[in-house]
């Protein structure tokens, strides 16, 4: 039955003897904007390339609409994975021009929107006659963004799309992404480690660390689970009873912890205590979860 769901089940990937994905399972529902968050080397690009059959898997399965995506042209026609461009190829510089990439995309992507691509080229003031190796990192990112947006693929994946873009271009990209989403309601997966700016865009997040999915679900619900509690050590400890402390920082006699759990319970715990409670940003929650140990355990 057609459901437009891109699904991975127990995906294991090894490079030589090193296992880089350890039984990853996730489900990408249609009509959502997903943020794939993870530190460098967490396995984001490997996971995305396996989801789009650009890389092999050692065990597990990836399906779209219930059909295996590997060597399945019908499924792959519905997915666009716009990956970072490399200025180098096997035999030297990547001298393929940006306009050749756009031409290839117009032939390969069945839903390609040429007018939209042309508009984006004008908007970004991209010189499409330049070969890739002569483009700046930001301009290469623009090419990948144009490919992704103009592909009009029902599942569109962007790998580090804002890498190298200046702050104005990054804002422009997120506005374009939201406008496109508003219009088409297609699924976007955006992999990034520049989290703060993107936090407002994501409806769902997938948090990957060391080849394992740590979290997958609603971004708002995820962030709402985290609280920063600051005060004297004893008060903070009492405030956090029944919550999970995921990160701890000390400044003199003051302690700041990042606690995960029910906000109502925290409010009840803190009644009469001299502690400050703050909301946590997505980036802070991400750092607390993946940034390692509590201070003092190093």
């Amino acid at each position: 039955m057609k459901n437009g769901v891109l699904q991975a089940e127990n995906v294991v990937k090894r490079y030589g003897k090193k296992e880089v994905l350890h039984g990853v399972s996730l489900s990408i529902r249609p009509g959502r904007i997903y943020g794939l968050l993870g530190r460098n080397g967490a396995g984001k690009t490997t996971l995305l390339s396996i989801l789009t059959a650009q890389n092999t898997l050692d065990s597990g399965s990836v399906t779209y609409d219930g059909e295996n995506v590997w060597e399945n042209q019908k499924a792959l026609d519905e997915i666009c994975f716009s990956r970072e461009l490399s200025p180098m190829l096997l035999f030297g510089q990547n001298s393929i021009k940006a306009k050749e990439y756009l031409r290839a995309a117009s032939l390969y992507y069945p839903h390609w929107d040429k007018d939209y691509a042309d508009r984006l080229v004008s908007l970004f003031e991209l010189d499409v006659k330049k070969p890739i190796y002569k483009l700046s990192k930001g301009m290469m990112s623009m090419v990948t963004i144009i490919l992704a947006l103009a592909s009009r693929a029902p599942v569109t994946i962007l790998d580090e799309p804002v890498a190298g873009l200046d702050v104005v271009a990054r804002e422009q990209f997120y506005r374009l992404l939201l406008a496109d989403y508003e219009q088409t309601r297609r699924t976007f997966i955006v992999s990034t480690h520049i989290i703060e700016e993107a936090a407002g865009v994501f409806e769902d997040i997938i948090l990957i660390d060391k080849g394992r999915i740590l979290e997958a679900g609603s971004c708002a619900e995820f962030v709402a689970q985290f609280h920063l509690v600051t005060g004297a050590e004893a008060d903070v400890a009492r405030a956090c009873e029944g919550l999970t402390v995921v990160h701890e920082e000390r400044l003199g006699r003051s302690v700041t912890v990042c606690a995960r759990g029910d906000g109502e319970r925290l409010r009840a715990n803190t009644a009469g205590l001299d502690v400050d409670v703050e909301a946590v940003s997505l980036q802070k929650a991400f750092v607390c979860l993946t940034g390692g140990q509590k201070e003092g355990e190093a």
Binding site: Q54, E71, R83, A104, L107
Partner: protein
């Protein structure tokens, strides 16, 4: 397959137009520098150069095309199977295009310098098969390079060098056995190329082997 064939053929057309331009330049240059008394030698030079480049270029073009366009195509959602068959169409397009340019250059030298064609009939068919094999070799080198990197290509080149040495040795032996080493060398090459059935069988077998290698390397290719 059709999308890859269309895309790669678009690339191949660009290569072919460049090659045709180079051929025209070569002929024009020879017309300018050759006195009428040496017209026959100029024709020989042109056809000789066209022959060697007709064998060299498909190898080099296929070798450079794959590392650039295989990852690009797969990253745009093409299946490996689709790419492989599309690449076969493009390879045939390239080989036939180069053969056509070679023949056009022969005709041009005939018309301009009044010399007889060196390759015609069976020997021309042999040249076409040679071009096809060279394109297939270039393609395999490209796949080997994509899978094993530059060391893979180096090893493959050594292997091809050895095979070419054996073939060259056979041709040389044929020439010597005919008694006139220098003069009969070209005749021996033409003789070899004219043996259509033997050459056809060898080409077919070689292309099947190379296609098998290509399929194996393409089947598990990953985009990095």
């Amino acid at each position: 397959m059709i999308r890859t064939a269309r895309y790669l053929s678009w690339i191949v057309w660009q290569y072919l137009f460049s090659l045709a331009g180079m051929g025209a330049l070569l002929i024009g240059f020879q017309v300018l520098i050759t006195p009428p008394s040496e017209a026959e030698f100029a024709a020989g030079r042109i056809v000789g150069m066209a022959f060697s480049t007709a064998l060299l270029f498909p190898t080099l073009l296929e070798l450079s095309m794959l590392p650039a366009y295989l990852p690009l195509s797969l990253s745009m959602g093409v299946t490996r199977r689709g790419f492989f068959w599309g690449a076969q169409v493009a390879k045939l397009h390239l080989a036939l295009g180069i053969a056509a340019i070679f023949e056009l250059m022969q005709i041009a030298t005939q018309l301009i310098f009044g010399s007889p064609a060196l390759f015609y009939g069976r020997s021309l068919a042999g040249v076409c098969m040679g071009i096809l094999v060279c394109a297939a070799l270039g393609e395999t080198l490209g796949f080997v390079g994509m899978r094993f990197g530059r060391w893979g290509i180096t090893a493959m080149c050594v292997l091809i060098g050895l095979l070419a040495g054996v073939v060259g040795g056979v041709i040389g032996f044929m020439s010597v056995s005919d008694g006139n080493e220098a003069g009969v060398l070209l005749d021996s090459v033409i003789g070899l190329l004219s043996n259509t059935s033997l050459l056809g069988a060898v080409v077919l077998a070689l292309m099947l082997v190379l296609a098998g290698v290509d399929t194996a390397l393409c089947r598990r290719f990953t985009v990095r």
